[in-house]
């Protein structure tokens, strides 16, 4: 995808470029016998946005994606693409393309035949279909490899062929089902940036399934976190990380220390929360007075081993692991064991050292409502 910059100058044999479309789920449920895979889910993907469906395996995210594609039919509810009801349309009749986890490249066809497959089954002449395919292949930087069989390409190249094949019909919506799971860790970071760049430059509506929260945070405009067949929370990456709506999201997105606190009083948007003998000012997020749970990110906890201040929260470092860019600690305190990450070039604190603990309140500490 190194030629993305030249996209606007490429000739376009098709008519006017199609507008990106929205995707809307209205109370969609999917059952297999007694098992409910997706339970009364509603959401909207705005045109031109990249939205990630994130969740642990078995949460229903892939089923949701396959329902957008038309590979599974909703048991109940309505699915709209670009404002049009497609609930009962088969996959072949929807203007949606998908990049599969296994890439699903047809092994008996060459790279060019694979990419040209979409237009050619639509009745486009072979010559035009090949032309369209070549255009997309050059877009993703695979020109020169079109005669090869898919099995003769590397994993990353196969993945790009799959993307080219999905793009060739210029679908209203493009779907990715864990597209990076078969790539090695280094390549993964590059490919996900390529996908994001492609999506933004072509102004595509993309639904993207992953179980990797870091990947989701990196590429998405919007994230839909799913758990047990339901939506746990939707929001921008930063919202999810800093203001988790419930325990599940707090735990699933990034690491979080869940600790108990006492909401003492509410004043305007802020609340006074006491943790042990510390006191914090935090947005109240509609929590009531009394015991509340707080999500504290590991990097929002500051350790100070120099001089324990009387009255502050104290603890003892139990374990320290040095990971290059960061040092991770397990600290034993009166409010439970805490997982702490310190960035920056500091000497690691030796296990057994007593430390005093404080929180950064600007970000990284949040009350979890209804928990």
């Amino acid at each position: 995808m190194n030629k993305i910059s030249s996209i606007h100058t490429l000739p376009r044999p098709g008519a006017l470029k199609k507008q990106a479309a929205s995707v809307q789920f209205r109370n969609v449920t999917k059952r297999y016998g007694n098992v409910t895979a997706v339970d009364d889910v509603s959401f909207t993907i705005e045109p031109g946005q990249l939205v990630t469906l994130l969740g642990p395996s078995g949460c229903g995210k892939t089923t949701t994606l396959r329902m957008i594609a038309g590979l599974e039919m909703a048991s109940e509810g309505q699915i709209l693409i670009g404002g049009r009801d497609v609930t009962n349309l088969s996959a072949a009749d929807r203007d949606v393309s998908m990049v599969f986890q296994s890439y699903a490249l047809f092994p008996h066809m060459s790279v060019l035949e694979n990419v040209a497959y979409g237009p050619s089954v639509q009745g486009v002449s072979k010559k035009d279909a090949y032309e369209m395919a070549m255009e997309k292949l050059s877009l993703i930087g695979l020109k020169g490899l079109e005669k090869r069989a898919p099995s003769e390409l590397s994993g990353g190249q196969q993945q790009r062929v799959a993307v080219a094949r999905a793009l060739v019909l210029e679908p209203q919506v493009l779907l990715f089902d864990e597209p990076l799971s078969n790539l090695d860790a280094k390549l993964r970071r590059r490919v996900r940036e390529d996908i994001r760049e492609l999506q933004q430059s072509l102004n595509l509506t993309v639904a993207y399934v992953t179980h990797d929260q870091e990947e989701a945070l990196a590429v998405s405009d919007h994230i839909i976190v799913m758990s047990n067949a339901r939506i746990a929370q939707t929001g921008a990456p930063r919202e999810l990380y800093e203001e988790p709506a419930n325990l599940f999201v707090a735990d699933f997105i990034g690491d979080a220390n869940i600790i108990n606190g006492e909401l003492v009083s509410i004043a305007g948007p802020m609340a006074q929360v006491s943790i042990g003998n510390l006191s914090l000012q935090l947005p109240h997020r509609n929590a009531n007075q009394g015991t509340v749970k707080l999500a504290v990110r590991p990097d929002a906890i500051l350790l100070d081993e120099s001089a324990p201040i009387a009255g502050a929260l104290t603890g003892t470092v139990r374990k320290a692991s040095y990971l290059g860019t960061q040092v991770e600690y397990e600290v034993e305190t009166a409010i439970g064991n805490l997982f702490v990450v310190q960035y920056g070039r500091k000497e690691p604190i030796a296990p057994g050292t007593p430390v005093s603990i404080s929180f950064t309140t600007q970000r990284g500490v949040a009350i979890i409502p209804h928990a």
Binding site: A92, G118, S151
Partner: protein, 729 residues
């Protein structure tokens, strides 16, 4: 509304208003107008056959969506039209027969004899099909099977075919078992026939009399099951775990019986051990052993079936032996077990399900075998031959044939049920996705010796039997006169050239051409329906899928003789009257051999990533395009397997077709059986060798025609095509 739906609605009208409603090709030469308009249901209906007119109602209902293409209720109209149309056709077909009313109630209500009609023809078939597909399109419009009309139609068509050609005959045979010979319900007669002494008698235990035919059959089946399993295991162990030099030969020998017509081995045994057999002569002249008829009866049938079915056990067990992870044996050895202990406590127990499988296959094969007992049985009667003689013999007792068929069917279904219930749940698979670096242990000495001592004599015996087959075809009379001759081939396959071109004057040509024609027609049909079914079973999800699978595999468990009897009982009278045509032979083969297509299709499809189909779907290709451009090219090995299998089976089958052949459509096998009964062994053997040769050529031709699947570089390492090893009742 799609163009396809519209097309089928038009076809339903064509079938009703233009094509002849009755009869396939019974009447004399028809003129074109006879053929088109005047024989149609519409003309018949207006001219007195009033019962055909109600079908106009669903035909008109199907038009509603045509004129209001945008209406939301179109799906409902199509469903209603299809259901009503099918129901009307079935009801009128089953209530009015050749001799008037078919049901007692109707006779009582409207008096005898009532209107009469012949069997359904092209028009009826087309209209019924069109109604079925209109119904399926309607269901698709309701979102069934992801709204895919191709899938719903395929399911509908396969279900309809199985209903007509498997369930309908089986029900007919059940019904006929409970009826007396004039067709009235008579349950007591059933019990009389069922408990008959000739079936269940145990006289052979207490006196010199014969035992019941059911016990005979079971006893033979058990012996054959045990024998084939033991021999198959010996061969499999030699082939996988020893340094035996002639392993290739074992492979060839395992294929031979598949392309040998089932009774040919029996025939060869007669030529060797019969009263004037080659070996009997030698024994008499050199050692003074008197000639006798010992080969006719249990010993002969047993030897013939062991020869015929050991290769099947071998093919099953070689997979099982190879499937045992050598690491397990190595683990046993590192725990200080000697090689004999390891074999006895690890290897053999792991093989147990495979052994049980091989045993059940041998058992079922023996039960279903018809050719060998017919040729060699003598006084030892088994169910399959007894059924045959109940139908064609002097007694002509259809009810008795039906009762015997039910007993045989119960035995085979019981065996299959056992296999399914007992083996289906146990998982002894020891081959996993992980690499297995172990090296298989060499066999313990005793086991190796035991294997050699069983396998080698048996292998040489098999070679001898096949040598007899080849030699027998080229000598005047095996055992008496060893003058080399081509006489047998000339009698059978003489071609004379006359003024008007070549004239096939040999006595075998008619049956030969008929056989090739039927086999060539049924093979592609079998493959198509079998693979379509496999596709539906592996790639689609719909309610009732288990029942669907059971239905498609059921015909496999039905012994050929039972199929033959049930087909003549079911298809000899309207509404579906097709006995005596080549069509019934083709359909018989299609549904007997389809399960192999299904199995090999399932095996291959489950190796192909499902997301390939899905990728094609999301790129806008419909299911039928996906099937054609993605699934079929990748299915080539399965296509070859099922084409070869169904062609070969159609060439060699004897049990079912012996009931269905006519003078016009005589099959090669039944012709040969006739020659054997007439004592013309030389001719029979010569014809059999020609058949074997033709089948070898056909297999090569099919390989070339279908071709290899292209998988880029990977083709070098793809798994060998899954040749189905199946029980073949």
């Amino acid at each position: 509304m799609s163009r396809a739906t519209l097309g089928w609605i038009v076809l339903s009208w064509v079938g009703f208003a233009l094509l002849p409603w009755y009869g396939f090709d019974r009447t004399a030469v028809l003129t074109l107008t006879d053929y088109f308009v005047s024989g149609s249901a519409l003309i018949h209906g207006l001219g007195g056959a009033w019962w055909l007119l109600p079908i106009l109602v669903p035909l008109c209902m199907a038009l509603a969506p045509v004129f209001r293409p945008a209406a939301q209720t179109n799906g409902n109209w199509l469903i209603a039209s299809g259901l009503l149309g099918l129901a009307l056709i079935v009801v009128q077909g089953f209530s009015i027969g050749l001799n008037g009313w078919m049901l007692d109630i109707l006779r009582g209500l409207f008096g005898e004899p009532g209107p009469s009609q012949a069997g359904m023809g092209y028009g009826a078939a087309l209209t019924a099909t069109a109604f079925l597909i209109v119904l399926c399109h309607g269901l698709a419009a309701h979102g069934w099977c992801r709204g895919d009309a191709f899938v719903t139609s395929s399911i509908g068509v396969v279900i309809a075919l199985i209903a007509v050609f498997v369930f309908f005959p089986v029900t007919t045979i059940l019904a006929s078992a409970f009826a007396d010979n004039s067709g009235n319900f008579a349950p007591f007669e059933f019990f009389g026939k069922f408990m008959d002494r000739s079936i269940w008698g145990l006289d052979c235990l207490s006196s010199n009399l014969r035992c019941g035919v059911a016990w005979n059959t079971l006893f033979l089946g058990l012996l054959v099951g045990v024998g084939t399993t033991a021999l198959g295991l010996a061969f499999a162990l030699i082939a996988t775990r020893t340094e035996f030099r002639f392993k290739k030969l074992l492979r060839v020998m395992s294929v031979l019986p598949i392309i040998t017509p089932p009774f040919v081995i029996g025939l060869a045994l007669i030529l060797l051990f019969g009263r004037s057999g080659a070996l009997s002569n030698v024994l008499w002249e050199w050692f003074g052993v008197p000639r006798s008829r010992w080969i006719y009866g249990l010993p002969g049938v047993l030897i013939a079936q062991l020869l015929a079915f050991t290769p099947i056990a071998f093919l099953v067990l070689i997979g099982v032996v190879q499937g045992i992870s050598p690491t397990l044996e190595e683990a046993s050895q590192t725990l200080r077990a000697k090689s004999w202990t390891t074999f006895w406590t690890v290897t053999l127990p792991l093989m147990r399900p495979g052994l049980a499988n091989a045993f059940l296959l041998g058992f079922v094969e023996s039960l279903a075998d018809f050719g060998n007992p017919l040729v060699l049985g003598g006084n030892y009667e088994v169910l399959s031959t007894k059924i045959f003689f109940a139908v064609v013999g002097a007694q002509q007792d259809q009810g008795r044939a039906a009762v015997l068929s039910i007993i045989l069917l119960a035995f085979t279904l019981g065996a299959f049920w056992l296999q399914h219930a007992w083996l289906g749940k146990k998982v002894y698979t020891t081959v996993t996705g992980k690499g297995d670096a172990g090296i298989p242990l060499p066999l313990p000495r005793r086991v190796a010796l035991a294997s050699y001592f069983t396998a080698i004599p048996w292998a040489s015996f098999t070679v001898a039997v096949y040598a007899v087959i080849v030699v027998g075809a080229f000598v005047r009379s095996m055992g008496r006169d060893y003058t080399p001759t081509l006489e047998h081939f000339l009698t059978a396959f003489r071609v004379e050239s006359s003024d008007s071109g070549f004239y096939f004057s040999g006595s075998a040509w008619d049956s030969f051409f008929a056989t090739v024609k039927v086999a060539a027609l049924s093979a592609p049909l079998t493959a198509a329906i079998g693979l379509l079914t496999a596709y539906l079973l592996t790639r689609q999800r719909f309610s009732g899928q288990r029942a669907f699978e059971f239905g498609t595999l059921l015909s496999f468990a039905i012994p050929g003789t039972v199929v033959g009897v049930s087909y003549i009982l079911a298809f000899n009278v309207p509404p579906i009257e097709i006995t005596g045509t080549g069509f019934i032979l083709v359909m018989c083969f299609v549904f007997r051999n389809m399960p192999v297509g299904v199995r090999s299709g399932i095996a291959t499809l489950s190796q192909i990533d499902k997301s390939l189909d899905e990728a094609s779907l999301t790129l806008g290709a419909g299911s039928s395009t996906t099937m054609r451009r993605i699934v079929l090219p990748l299915l080539r090995p399965a296509i070859v397997a099922s084409l070869v299998y169904s062609f070969v089976r159609a060439m060699t089958a004897v049990s079912a077709v012996i009931f269905l052949v006519t003078a016009e459509y005589n099959m090669a096998t039944t012709y040969i059986v006739g020659r054997v009964e007439a004592g013309e062994f030389g001719l029979a053997i010569a014809y059999s060798t020609v058949l074997i040769l033709v089948m070898l050529l056909a297999i090569v031709a099919i390989q070339l025609a279908v071709g290899e699947r292209r998988l880029g570089r990977r083709s070098a390492s793809t798994a060998p095509s899954p040749v189905a090893v199946q029980a073949v009742p």
